[in-house]
Symmetry: C2
Amino acid sequence: MTTHPPAYSHLLAELRRLDRLSSSLGILFWDEQTNMPPKSAQLRGEQTAALSELVHRESTRPEIGELLAKLKEADLDEDAAAVVREARKAYNRATCLPGEYVARAAAARSAGFHAWVEARKDNDFAQFAPHLEAQIDLAREGAHYQGATDVYDHLIDSFDPGMTSAIIDPLFAELEEGIRPILGTILGSERGVDPSLFKGFPEDKQEVFLREVVTAFGFDFGRGRIDRAIHPFCGGHPEDTRMTTRYDSDNPLDSITSAMHETGHALYEQGLNREFAGTALGSSVGMAVHESQSRLWENQVGRSRAFWRHWEPRYRELFPEQLAPLSSADLHLAINRVAITPIRVDADEVTYNLHILLRYQMERDLFSGKLTVKDVPAAWNARSAEILRFTPQTDREGCLQDVHWSEGLFGYFPSYTLGNLLAAQLWYRLQEDLPDVEAQIGRAEFTPLLEWLRNHVHSLGRRYYTQTFAQKVTGSPLTPQPLLRYLRERYLPLYSN
Amino acid sequence: MTTHPPAYSHLLAELRRLDRLSSSLGILFWDEQTNMPPKSAQLRGEQTAALSELVHRESTRPEIGELLAKLKEADLDEDAAAVVREARKAYNRATCLPGEYVARAAAARSAGFHAWVEARKDNDFAQFAPHLEAQIDLAREGAHYQGATDVYDHLIDSFDPGMTSAIIDPLFAELEEGIRPILGTILGSERGVDPSLFKGFPEDKQEVFLREVVTAFGFDFGRGRIDRAIHPFCGGHPEDTRMTTRYDSDNPLDSITSAMHETGHALYEQGLNREFAGTALGSSVGMAVHESQSRLWENQVGRSRAFWRHWEPRYRELFPEQLAPLSSADLHLAINRVAITPIRVDADEVTYNLHILLRYQMERDLFSGKLTVKDVPAAWNARSAEILRFTPQTDREGCLQDVHWSEGLFGYFPSYTLGNLLAAQLWYRLQEDLPDVEAQIGRAEFTPLLEWLRNHVHSLGRRYYTQTFAQKVTGSPLTPQPLLRYLRERYLPLYSN
């Protein structure tokens, strides 16, 4: 065991303390979505603002800077060097931002979010436009303070470290080209199931099924919970992982797939090194790898024939009458339904990537200056017609549909598709070690799969950034071919006439 | 409207910020009792420790001291003077404590609590003794920093401002003397109902009943919640009031009375001036007045014939078979059951005060030096025999039963009985303004009662301390005769052979 300089253990103690403070804030956010009484929103806004400001102040304490100044990565072993590298990056980014800017940006995010809610309700982009303008300006201003050379790349990096437009552009182009013929075959097929056949699934029984699946996947309820929220999410700390789901009695498959998705995120969080939470050794790589975990459990596992071989009987046991009109083949088609839908969050795993491509191009052009805010609705609709072959009839089903921009989350969208690429790469890679994984899934034996992910993904923390990570774990940086192969293998047999 | 100096509005902003931070900590405590996964306790301990330390640091910022130095109560109107007085008191008490002491006391409280849990489980006071010793020393040390002249009075004042042993001693003596003959009559009576007749009350139906009662009392679910926890409590912020209850299918009355009790606390919180939360204008007076509110709704209202006149039919509708063997008279006797029980939290409203008297005398003697920690079990048992006429067979049902001392909460116990005194005083006083209150309660009309409490109690905030408050609101400082009158009127007719 390497001996570390005393400054290193002091740094670890500081990082642990910051982790405890920021995860406290995480509990307040979770509570806001799950438990907060309806009229307590203003109080909660003031609570999180006051606490956020304190956490920011604590994370920029000069004492941390002094410790970092004493620690040279070259003198440390690989793990400690990664811890110091990430702590330095976070510290430098945080200290670059004037306190006045942090407070102003927080207030603008809150105002932007509420303006977006209203604008979406009123279906009126013009109401939201000045807030979007303000968010873009704030993002530029923050990137400027932090010494960014390219603003949009800097924003992408904040969600997915090391990622750039130069990496994404060719990946997305190749992916789009590959998806077109697959989608053409599916949409040209006569096969399909009317989703309105799914009706009257009582929520309490949906919850029974869902908890059985989540438990079987390996979620540790000793260190986590699942609750209801309007928007499913996974709030994460390795020692207290809080995921949420929603139930719709006439759309039961949505609740299952979204719970499997959030479980993928949750298993990643619970698989991180608890002892080093808040450091590079106990943090996720970024949103792309996070999304690879949610997608793998939702799609590669949860939409597979193997999975339903075991679970369909149990599902029919819980909903005998509701499922009576549906054959096994119908059920499987419904689970793997593909359709052009206006709304991203309702999209299937084939068209989802086209939704992301659209948003990525919009963001890239907004930050390069090619596109101005007032032209967003027209540009969105034109691009949607081109990429999705669908023209939104309203802003609500077009450029106002996503929350991200209202809160200044630019550069986040690409992670969703990057995560899809990585999920497929991991899926083929892990089958080299686990040739029986489909058979195991068919017996509801998820432990070998989870163990593989623990050893090859979760335990790595943030030692490597996405591209290096993908190279080390799957033998290749991110590439679209495994996802295209997976989509062909999954969907072409289902939708061949 | 008086014009206040600018320092006053700055002080209000500081106090509002501190309120937002400390109530964030309140959400973490609530979550710990209601939602936290079982294995997340260590993380939560570290989160609350880190956040508590920050909140303490923020509440002792020199900027607040500078504002207070500029503000003289004599130059301000009565409301502003009260705000400054209370802010100064809190600031002085907090700044007197060295940071090192605050951290050491927090760690000792946590260690003390866990040692108490273990000692109680093992029924072994010796395990807990060093922790009790440490808590007493810490309480003395803290009182010394804060310049206390009498340590125990100083501790009492921290829960119930202005209260002293010199006030309490004669009140408790007179109360004990008055309770003896009432208790003698009750215990000599042949009337009573076997509590084991209450069996098999499904929890979900108990919850239905309880929510109907809580809603009828006037609890605002728009700004509060009720959840399950092992120990019922009310975590309070006027804008987000979180109370808890518990259900036992074989002890359904406990859940009702304890929910009515917590609702009394919650109505007080929700009735405080929201705009001035965290200041003297929007804070409770102290624990005695808080307890007067919980007791009034639980006892004077919730155990009355009038209350059950309306609610008994609904209760029987929900539990027709369970209640079939019990007459109305049986039900009412069970609700007003009186018995010598070893455990304070299970005690009825007659013997409860004797449990408090015992604890008060123990604390007083521990802090005067008359009693040493090692002699606590023997002294407890001897006093219990004298006051309660009951000798605990084990420490678990004796001196280890309460959590308070393990966390350094000395001086808290007297508030319970002081609250009982005040509840009775308020009860007779409010009937002068609301002569029909019993008839209204009999029709489940609680609005006039709640409005009276809003106007005469809740809206006063902490402008006056308990004795002045009691004088202003009821025409007398605290006095035992109204409680004794109430106990005689309630219990003697029930238990006369």
